[in-house]
Symmetry: C2
Subunit: 342 residues, 2 copies
Amino acid sequence: MKRHSSKRPTISQVAERAGVSAGTVSNYLNGTVSVSPDRSIRIQEAIDALHYVPDPTASSLRRKEARDIFVLTPDLNNMFYTKILRSYMDLAYKEGYNINISSYEYSRDLEKRMLSRLMSARKGSLVVIFNGFGDEDLIEALIQHDLRVILADRNKTIAGTSSLSFDNENVLFDLVRFLKEKGFRKIGLFTEPLLLENIRLRHDSFLKAARYYGYSGDNITVYFDETLVLNKMNQGYLNMRRILNETPIQSLPDAWVASSDNLAIGIMRAINEAGYRIPDDFGLVGFDNLDVSEFIQPALTTVNQDQVYFGSKLWDISRRVLKTNECVNNTIMQNLIIRSSC
Amino acid sequence: MKRHSSKRPTISQVAERAGVSAGTVSNYLNGTVSVSPDRSIRIQEAIDALHYVPDPTASSLRRKEARDIFVLTPDLNNMFYTKILRSYMDLAYKEGYNINISSYEYSRDLEKRMLSRLMSARKGSLVVIFNGFGDEDLIEALIQHDLRVILADRNKTIAGTSSLSFDNENVLFDLVRFLKEKGFRKIGLFTEPLLLENIRLRHDSFLKAARYYGYSGDNITVYFDETLVLNKMNQGYLNMRRILNETPIQSLPDAWVASSDNLAIGIMRAINEAGYRIPDDFGLVGFDNLDVSEFIQPALTTVNQDQVYFGSKLWDISRRVLKTNECVNNTIMQNLIIRSSC
DNA sequence: TTGAAAGCGCTACCAG
DNA sequence: CTGGTAGCGCTTTCAA
């Protein structure tokens, strides 16, 4: 295939054609200082004629700053993150920022490798890290390298970073109170391993709330397993199937709280296949309010996290951090959505 | 918050400290030509001492090429794309490429705006466009600007571009034959509007296959609506609910083929809520084989598109295009996965 | 308001 | 194998 290898025009070619200097073209383009009307016209003509488009690489090099944002998520294949990202990217693109997304698959090694690569980003670039764990040293190194860091959905602050996360305390009190009022005697938390701070916080708050509302001893169960990290739907299914096989039903909780909707969907299948009914035999509550959660049978009661709002709030913080270089820490409330599964 | 504003070290500072020239450091780093062992050691020591990290912007500017890949998808919030991207990005990152993802929300305007922005990308950069429509002029402009373009999941070739898509012809013959053998008398296609070439091809092949297997006249239905683009689950639900309300059941098909699993999930809810049963009253088949499709009740029969394979194949093509600048066009087969909904 | 010129940090060339 | 040097395309002084 032949290729019409048109050299890109440069700013000096535009300048030459317009009969002005490169600096003037630059001023015209960036509005740095005003340019006389007649020259402006000639410059614009030259730009059009040559189809000139500025080279952002050169400009970055010279300005010593770039409009780059790097986003790390644990799992791109999870609508929780993509919903946030969609609303975040919308806003960021509108203001001309570039976004690099990557996914570390809940692997600390992978995450660390990605963070290391970021050391070579231009100073002033913004790094948004969703969740993550065991990476404190690298985050500090990033800050040393003069990058700005925002911790998202993490419920943890590190000096020099900003943060935005969901409130994982109050909502668990709401949730447990709801279970109590519904008359469930034994409640269980079915959760991913407690590596992530927000998950750990959910766990701790669950226990606190359970005790607060009068549950104790055998009436509180916590189940977690290290497989419950990726492929949550399937792993939730497999784990719950095993639980149901191995445990007499009277020693199981009569309401389960799953730490994510994906887990809950897997759990639901296992319960159905074992011949039990939801919510009669087991109540079930999820976390995340995925689109699909309203569509499954029975529709899933869940904790709603407004991802669109999170995304826009995250962008607010990003702007502040980029412009003013200060640190901002914020929390967003969650609310319970009651459907048929509990 | 105070910030330890450590100026980034440059290659010449490393050179000075190691007592060599900048060129030698560059050679050492890039392996362009070999560097004597003693100098290598001194250079490495200097790099470590200064925590030197090369600046990719400067390097790009000088090399006149960048390792940038821009990916446009219609909807990031759809696992079909994220699954492909996960496998694609994995491979790309391993080889040191940067990936920029964006989503045009099935909007032609937005897509065009994004493509226009890409005109300013460095020449030689790769642009991967998923689906898309009405953008032929801009794609040609990109090629004029010396970018490389790959059309993904589109079943269309444009001169100067490469492409990778799923085979949307043979599989529809398999599918319709399956419906025929199952004894369905009237079959219907429930599809997004025919803006996208691959959707149109599915539609055309559906009709061809239907006739081939002896369906005709009233025994073939095609339903589409312009709302069936985003929020497919919910829109599929609303549209099918309306159909069931407005149409006597005996004039409806007894098997529906939905052009995506998300639509099928919405359809399923509408059918259930209307008091009908799947597959007894209606057979239902989807497209995409999403993770969740195996977990819903009844488990969804669907056309499997191997997204992981697509992603790796896409990366193969990307490399070839980047290295050799030739055009490659490929197609990947799909297969039917039979579960309980049909 | 303008043009000339000095770099941003790096790589590629050339002479030795 | 090495050092010196030119220059990628752009922005930003500085003098005029």
